[in-house]
């Protein structure tokens, strides 16, 4: 009798754990889609400010075009740099592949050269900021194992807390805690921990707005705890579902950017 109860308890516990795990993965999937796949395409004007530990600032401005080929799947990114002045007109394109390696190209106007860029390392810094390439285009939820922790609140908003561990050893982080807004499914915070168990980076959604009926993180930041550096990304303008064509995301357009979308 006692034994049966125990077995039953174990089964229930296992089931609920499995359910919880799936639930955590589902939360991460929804959050990923909300943050990286809003609409079918998007054009944003981005202001990026990198502040180091001495308070010195570096500013970058660029326009970013995004096209989703498949919800939660492959995407196209096109970046056109405006500032600093010496790099104006440089363009950068990414064909993001969920299954394989991304393909990247860069156009260098000073020597009028388009060059494919090999991209093995998604954790490397995006244009010298504290965001990595993966932070910009999103780390696919299926790459990590997720576990739901007790709910919490961030700035008064109720959040899910999900602990993610990479399935394959990853040098960028060993553990991540995501605090996902129950209302919008957007991550309000992400805390990254390294192999030593120390906090290494913190992501924060600092301002969330609704533009064209889509809830968007308008200001986000990433702080490197060790280097005491912080990068803040502000969306100056956002247009969603503007009808971007796949042909824009080709080498030809790297040299002559689509002026109807980039001012």
């Amino acid at each position: 009798m006692k034994f049966k109860t125990l077995t039953l308890c174990t089964i229930v516990a296992t089931l609920s754990l499995a359910w919880a795990a799936e639930d955590a993965a589902e939360i991460m999937r929804k959050s990923h889609l909300a943050l990286y796949y809003a609409g079918n395409d998007q054009v944003t004007d981005v202001h990026m400010k990198i502040v180091d530990q001495k308070g010195k600032e570096r500013v970058r401005e660029f326009a970013m075009l995004r096209l989703d080929l498949e919800e939660g799947g492959d995407q196209r990114y096109y970046t056109y740099f405006k500032k600093p002045a010496d790099v104006a007109r440089m363009t950068f394109m990414v064909h993001k592949s969920v299954a394989g390696n991304d393909a990247r190209w860069i156009y260098i106007p000073a020597v009028d050269l388009v060059k494919p860029v090999s991209a093995d390392d998604k954790s490397s810094s995006f244009v010298g900021s504290d965001f990595s390439y993966e932070d910009v285009s999103g780390r696919h939820w299926s790459e990590d194992t997720h576990r739901l922790l007790p709910d919490s609140t961030i700035d008064g908003a109720a959040v899910y807390v999900v602990e993610s561990t990479p399935k394959k050893d990853d040098k960028s982080f060993a553990k991540k805690l995501s605090y996902i807004d129950k209302a919008t499914m957007l991550p309000l915070r992400e805390r990254y921990f390294d192999k030593k168990g120390s906090l290494s980076r913190v992501f924060a959604a600092e301002k969330i707005d609704t533009a064209n009926g889509i809830t968007t993180v308008m200001v986000r930041s990433m702080e490197d705890v060790y280097a005491k550096r912080k990068t803040t990304v502000t969306f100056l303008s956002v247009s969603t579902n503007v009808g971007l064509k796949e042909e824009i995301f080709t080498e030809r357009f790297l040299k002559s950017p689509p002026r109807e979308f980039i001012k």
Partner: protein
């Protein structure tokens, strides 16, 4: 007179005197557990010193680490085989997991950024993300690494047999502790590879740790040897005990005071117990004289009082000379030097107060029987010692011209030797050859560009983005080529190397593009391209955000201070041949080592000169005569000159430890002359026959001098076997100094006095 009353008081109230000493010692000893230790030689200079402020600024501007350990992995057949590469990967991973290691900026084949062209694409990634398995993969890795000039001499040796891992440390981390952990990590590996752990933090912190350990071993060991030597000389345990007790009490008082006042025990002050132990041996003159007096009178109390009257004045003045010699160090600029000087001066005074109180008090406790035995022992031993001393004194007194002539020749040779002295410092060479630290450094310096790192910081007056201009690039490039002509420079590295590399790679490695691009826009875009893919630190290490300051890395193959001097000279030379609106300044650990060593060294030299003057004044006061002061000064000058002459001839660098020793020589060598001349004059006042008085002085106080010298020398001879060269140097220096200055005093002083007697004893009929 005041001293005499202290002696009388101590004899009348011996128990009270001893109890007071014990209580004071107890109070001082209670402070000892509060000890704080500072082994970092950087703290020789205050944080506000120009070099530290600038170095901090440079480190902050370029996100550099103050301390970096270099780990070398070598395989006799080259490191490009799967087994060795696996070890490189595993060791890098394990090192990044060590506490206090700045994991994100560890550089090795698996983490450093490589810019290459791969199938027409630009690739920015570490050369090895996964260990290659097939021969083709191995060959490809080998080719890509060895063909990148940025890597040769830094991450890989030109012959492909040695690779390095650079391990930056978090601020305040202890280099020795991390080096030990790294040694543990590499110690687990099996195979044909050799592993080496090198770099400034390893040498510096290992030195600090070993130094404190040695102090703990050598102070008691020197004490023990002295104890045995005293026992052999006097055959009386109580005498030995009281003499050692005096040394221990003075050391406890000094260290207790230092720690009680809240000073950390620094490398320099950690040497003071040994110094004080040495200075304490001066009390041997009291015992020596007491032995003679007791033998003559057989009355204990009378012998004590007479002894103190006879040796009181020289003992007081030698103490004063020593205290002043060290006391002047308190006027120096460097705080640990000041503390050290004050500490030893205080200890010396304490020793003397004890000589006039504790020692007489203890002497009253010794039973007449034992004293009888001691006196007889002295008699028996006196046979050959007396004959030997008499002969020495005789040579000087009866062959003055030859003696002085030999002295002059020796002095001439010494001056020639001194002219050959090289001022240099090399912290790695403080470790003996064959030691782990030194071997690692030697091997790494042969294989790679050098473990000692300097920076040349170029600041533009031309405003923002100046270091994107071709003009600035060519100026820096020219500087690098110029510096690389120096044999001590193994490799240089700057933002120009990145620009050239990207230009080359973007143009599919066409040799014509291994050059600086012709316009600023291109350079700006190349660097932006680089920063798009590399670690932020890769670019930050060589140029600041605004491109107004650039940092040229200079790897040196030796830790010689001279190497850094050569680099600075070459920079100045370059400034004359090439011009740009740029200011060039040295920085980095190699530069810091040069500055602090020089500062300490010249501060000590300055202190030494001031102390020389102060000691001369004391001598003049003691003898109430400038002439006698000059005569008394000669053995000191002679000893110092001879030792430095030898230092110059054997090519030993005049470095910081030697400069510290100069001060000790001053305190000790003058002691013997004070004893000799004071007692000679006392004797002459009683029996005005110069020849007889000289021989008497050579035999009687001379015996005290010889005993003092031998005691001292035997105690310090243990240091000759220390694993750190500065300790061997201290040992050799003190042994030779003691023997030389005793000989000088006993042989040379009589010769000089005989030759100059007309000048010295005006109107006297002797």
């Amino acid at each position: 007179m005041k001293r005499a009353s202290l002696v009388e008081f101590s004899i009348k109230h011996p128990v009270l005197t001893v109890v007071t000493c014990v209580i004071l010692t107890g109070v001082a000893a209670s402070q000892l557990p509060k000890i704080t230790i500072d082994t970092n030689p950087k703290n020789m200079l205050p944080e506000t010193s120009t070099v530290r402020v600038f170095n901090d600024e440079v480190e902050s501007t370029f996100s550099l680490y103050e301390d970096v350990i270099v780990v070398g992995i070598a395989h006799p057949n080259g490191i490009f085989n799967a087994a060795t590469l696996e070890k490189v990967q595993r060791i890098t991973d394990e090192i990044t997991n060590l506490p206090n290691v700045a994991a994100r900026d560890v550089s090795s084949l698996t983490t450093i950024m490589n810019v290459t062209a791969e199938n027409g694409a630009l690739k920015v990634a570490p050369p090895m993300t996964e260990v290659p398995r097939t021969d083709e993969e191995l060959a490809a890795l080998r080719k890509s690494v060895l063909e990148n000039p940025l890597f040769i001499g830094r991450i890989i040796s030109a012959d492909g047999k040695t690779t390095a891992i650079y391990v930056p440390l978090e601020e305040g981390a202890n280099g020795k502790e991390i080096a030990d952990k790294i040694r543990e990590v590499v110690g687990k590996e099996r195979g044909d590879e050799q592993f080496y752990v090198a770099g400034d933090p390893v040498a510096r912190d290992t030195f600090g740790a070993v130094m404190f350990k040695l102090m703990g071993v050598f102070s008691p060991l020197a004490g023990l040897i002295m104890f045995i030597a005293i026992f052999l000389m006097f055959r009386n345990l109580s005498l030995c005990m009281s003499m050692m007790a005096v040394a221990m009490i003075a050391i406890t008082w000094s260290m207790g005071l230092l720690i009680g006042l809240g000073f950390p025990v620094h490398i320099m002050s950690s040497m003071s117990p040994v110094f004080l132990m040495a200075i304490a041996t001066d009390s041997i003159h009291i015992f020596n004289e007491f032995n003679f007096r007791y033998r003559e009178k057989r009355d204990k109390t009378a012998a004590i009082i007479e002894t103190m009257q006879a040796v009181g004045r020289p003992v007081r003045f030698t103490a004063l000379a020593t205290a002043v010699g060290f006391g002047v160090l308190m006027l120096m600029h460097i705080i640990p030097v000041q503390v050290f000087g004050g500490l030893v001066a205080f200890g010396t005074i304490a020793l003397r107060v004890l000589s006039f109180s504790f020692i007489p008090a203890v002497l009253t406790f010794i039973s007449a029987e034992k004293l009888e035995k001691a006196a007889r022992a002295g008699d028996v031993e006196g046979g050959w010692a007396e004959r030997f001393l008499r002969r020495l004194g005789y040579v000087g007194a009866h062959r003055p011209v030859i003696t002085v002539a030999i002295g002059v020749v020796l002095l001439g040779g010494a001056i020639l030797g001194i002219s050959k002295i090289v001022v240099n410092n090399n912290m790695v060479e403080w470790f003996k050859s064959g030691s782990e630290v030194r071997t690692a450094d030697t091997v790494m310096n042969q294989a790679l560009g050098g473990t000692s790192l300097a920076y040349i910081v170029a600041t533009a007056n031309g405003g923002e983005t100046y270091f994107q201009s071709p003009e600035a690039m060519h100026y820096i490039d020219g500087l690098q080529r110029h510096l690389e002509k120096l044999p001590v420079v193994g490799k240089t590295f700057s933002v120009v190397d990145y620009v050239k590399r990207i230009n080359f790679v973007l143009h599919d490695e066409a040799p014509a593009f291994d050059a600086i691009p012709g316009n600023k826009e291109t350079i700006g875009q190349y660097l932006f391209l680089f920063s798009m893919s590399a670690r932020p630190m890769d670019l930050e290490n060589v140029v600041d955000y605004e491109f107004t300051t650039a940092n040229v890395w200079v790897q040196l193959k030796t830790w010689d201070a001279q190497a850094m001097r050569d680099v600075i000279a070459a920079v100045n030379e370059y400034k004359k041949t090439a011009s740009a609106p740029v200011e060039l300044r040295p920085a980095g650990i190699a530069y810091f080592n040069l500055v602090w060593n020089d500062e300490v060294l010249w501060d000590m030299v300055r202190g030494f000169i001031i102390a020389l003057i102060a000691v001369f004044i004391i001598l003049a006061f003691n003898f109430r005569s400038l002439k006698w002061a000059l005569i008394g000064y000669i053995p000191l000058l002679f000893t110092v000159a001879l030792i430095y002459g030898v230092v110059g001839f054997i090519g030993k660098d005049f470095d910081m430890p030697i400069s510290v020793l100069s001060c000790l020589s001053l305190g000790m060598a003058v002691d013997f002359a004070i004893h000799f001349i004071s007692r000679l004059k006392q004797r002459l006042a009683e029996f005005p026959d110069l020849q007889e008085a000289l021989l008497w002085t050579a035999v009687r106080p001379g015996r005290g001098i010889m005993r003092n010298a031998l005691l001292f020398a035997s105690a310090f001879s243990v240091m000759l076997f220390a694993p750190l060269t500065p300790y061997s140097t201290v040992g050799a220096f003190i042994v030779s100094m003691m023997v030389l200055s005793a000989l000088m005093t006993i042989v040379f002083l009589p010769a000089l006095i005989v030759l100059l007697k007309g000048w010295l004893f005006r109107n006297a009929a002797i």
